[in-house]
């Protein structure tokens, strides 16, 4: 079957990919710069007989996801940074109850209400759990519209497979820009595997009673549950780490960047190489699990330096430092407040570090 190619905004591509992935329930609340996504879902879910609700808040939307996910269907919500903060309670409950769900963050600049332009200041929130308790969500960071569609589609698969919510961390630039996308083939929703732990259809499935809960008031039992989840996380770390490398083999300086920053850094690397500078790019695609081991291996090369380029005051740089573990110099460069560095600025930062 020939693939379908469309020119789409990132927000719309994410919505279409979710629909094709078999998202049965979408719950949202308006916030810039992800509004087109909620509108796309309203326009396309309802005619398809699927569930769309504009909730009264992000808090409510994520808890609708919790209820929908408990019934075993594929469920999703999306928002931008301030709204994602409100969803943290629900994400913690989803993780505590081991429910799959997809959450999309078309991130903007903070803190507080901040601004509506693209930023990467939600890295800590996304990768450290964000809400209360010992948990992680899988975090996927697309660099453009095509990857936003691909990773959203895959987010549903991964979430079902691992029973862990998946956060797609895009930003306002990816949400707003238009690019051509090859859309994934729609899944056959009726053919998706049944979830034996879900509530509903007890008689049809001829099973005992199912309870979906994150509560565990006995410390010994809760400890056991948390240890089991941690062992599961260890497996995910082994199986899922994903990244892309560009001219790192001989690089004296490796730029580490994800999402929009990686896109800009690619141009900076090309411009640097044209000037004869040995620079390369390491782009994490999964921010959790973070590819610590690969970065550690890259740090083995004598004299190599690392520059974390982020649209923030420097958050992922902490993970780069953890990975490098003192074996090589690590620095951060980036703009914040919704400003996006251009390739000249990134290249200049790389040259400063090379010459330092």
């Amino acid at each position: 079957m020939s693939k379908e190619i469309r020119l789409m905004k990132g927000n719309e591509a994410i919505g279409e990919a979710a629909i094709r992935a078999g998202c049965a329930s979408y719950f949202g609340y308006p916030i810039t710069p992800q509004n087109e996504l909620t509108a796309y879902m309203a326009a396309n879910m309802l005619p398809a007989g699927r569930i769309f609700i504009q909730a009264e808040s992000e808090v409510s939307a994520i808890n609708m996801v919790y209820g929908a996910a408990a019934t075993g269907v594929r469920a999703m919500t999306s928002s931008s940074s301030p709204g994602i903060s409100l969803k943290q309670e629900g994400i913690s409950y989803l993780c505590g109850a081991d429910l799959p769900a997809v959450v999309v963050n078309v991130a903007r600049a903070g803190p507080g209400l901040g601004g509506i332009t693209p930023a990467q200041g939600d890295y800590f929130q996304s990768t450290r759990g964000g809400g209360h308790g010992d948990y992680h969500t899988i975090v996927l960071a697309p660099k453009g519209v095509q990857e936003a569609a691909d990773l959203t589609f895959e987010a549903f698969e991964l979430s079902d497979k691992y029973k862990i919510p998946v956060l797609v961390l895009a930003d306002g630039l990816i949400g707003q820009m238009m690019e051509s996308v090859v859309l994934p083939d729609p899944v056959d929703m009726a053919a998706l595997p049944r979830k034996p732990w879900a509530v509903g259809h007890q008689a049809r499935d001829k099973r005992g009673v199912n309870h979906v809960s994150s509560m565990n008031l006995d410390p010994a039992t809760l400890e056991k549950a948390n240890l089991k989840r941690e062992a599961h996380y260890d497996m995910v770390k082994k199986e899922l780490c994903r990244y892309e490398e560009m001219q790192v083999e001989d690089a004296d300086l490796v730029i580490v960047a994800y999402g929009t920053s990686a896109r800009v850094s690619m141009s900076a690397v090309q411009a640097g190489r044209a000037k004869g500078l040995k620079i390369g790019l390491f782009r994490p695609i999964t921010l959790w699990p973070f590819p610590y081991e690969r970065i550690a291996a890259l740090a083995e090369k004598e004299g190599r330096k690392f520059l974390s380029v982020e649209m923030s005051m420097g958050q992922m740089v902490e993970d780069v430092r953890l990975a490098v573990n003192g074996r090589a110099p690590v620095a951060h460069y980036g703009r914040t407040g919704g400003m996006i560095h251009n390739e000249e600025e990134v290249l200049a930062a790389a040259e400063r570090m090379l010459n330092a």
Binding site: A24, S25, F27, I51, I53, A55, E56, S57, V59, S60, A61, N63, M64, V65, Y66, G67, A68, A69, A70, T71, V73, A75, E89, G90, Y93, A97, V199, G200, H201, Q202, A203, V209, N210, H211, V212, S213, S214, M215
Partner: protein
């Protein structure tokens, strides 16, 4: 021999964690009696709220989902929309429903979500040890209203009549208030639950039964005293009966027709 009265099939036969004289147990029994009568045990799902009834999954012998405090109606929305032919019961205390979850209940009701809310109004926060609830009566003692609820100087607000508050919303079809203080009211409450569940299974819109319920432990009264207190204080303020009924089965209002 015909069995006239026995333990409901949908109610697990174990000793509950509820305090002596607590109303939750009676309410659990009424819910399960109705479910058994309607033959819905394998098609029922309850959202057990944060509050004393958090352990509902131990007691109800059907599926359950445990959401965050106050988000119960949002979670019930996600469940019911995906399982339209199931009986979804959104069980909530007065802290869960009328304080932290006020936005969720108002909007679920306004959307006309087709689950049934069982709202247990014991005029206090039970689980956390007797703090003031939105439904605590003026002058009533609680650990956070140690000199009685004072809407004036202390700015503690007024008790909220939830049925009346929700009755103006277009999505609400059946709002009734019962009590579990004596056999007559218990029977009437059961009938309200049945009416609400039947309406839900017909897909009619938002239904809620508010139930005035004793909390002897946190009211610092004996079980008999707490019944007395409920009758003398709660019922006069929270009138019993159908506050709103626009179901297809409702009797035509007096004076209508002809």
């Amino acid at each position: 021999m015909e069995l006239l009265y026995g333990h409901p099939k949908s109610l697990v036969s174990i000793q509950s964690k509820y305090c002596p004289g607590c109303g939750h147990g009676v309410i659990h029994r009424l819910i399960t009696e109705v479910i058994d009568e309607m033959g819905l045990q394998e098609r029922s799902i309850i959202t057990n709220p944060v509050g004393c009834s958090i352990w509902a999954e131990y007691y109800f012998d059907f599926d359950s989902v445990q959401p965050a405090h106050g988000r119960t109606p949002a979670a019930a929305t996600g469940i019911k929309r995906n399982l339209k032919d199931h009986l979804v019961i959104c069980y909530q205390g007065d802290g869960d429903l009328a304080a932290i979850g006020t936005a969720e209940i108002i909007h679920a009701a306004n959307r006309g979500e087709k689950f049934t809310t069982i709202f247990v109004n014991n005029a206090i926060y039970g689980m956390t040890g007797g703090q003031m609830a939105p439904t605590t009566l003026v002058g009533q003692y609680a650990t956070t209203s140690p000199r009685g609820r004072d809407p004036g100087e202390a700015g503690m607000g007024y008790p909220i009549k939830v049925c009346e508050l929700l009755s103006s919303l277009g999505g609400t079809r059946y709002l009734a208030r019962g009590a579990v203080n004596n056999p007559v009211n218990i029977k009437k409450t059961k009938k309200m639950i049945r009416t609400a569940f039947e309406a839900q299974m017909r897909g009619e819109g938002f239904t809620m039964v508010e139930i005035l319920s004793q909390c002897p432990t946190n009211w610092k009264l004996s079980p008999p005293e707490s019944i007395d207190w409920l009758e003398k204080n709660m019922i006069p303020f929270y009138p019993l009966g159908e506050i709103k009924n626009t179901l297809s089965t409702a009797a035509a209002p007096a004076g209508a027709g002809n």
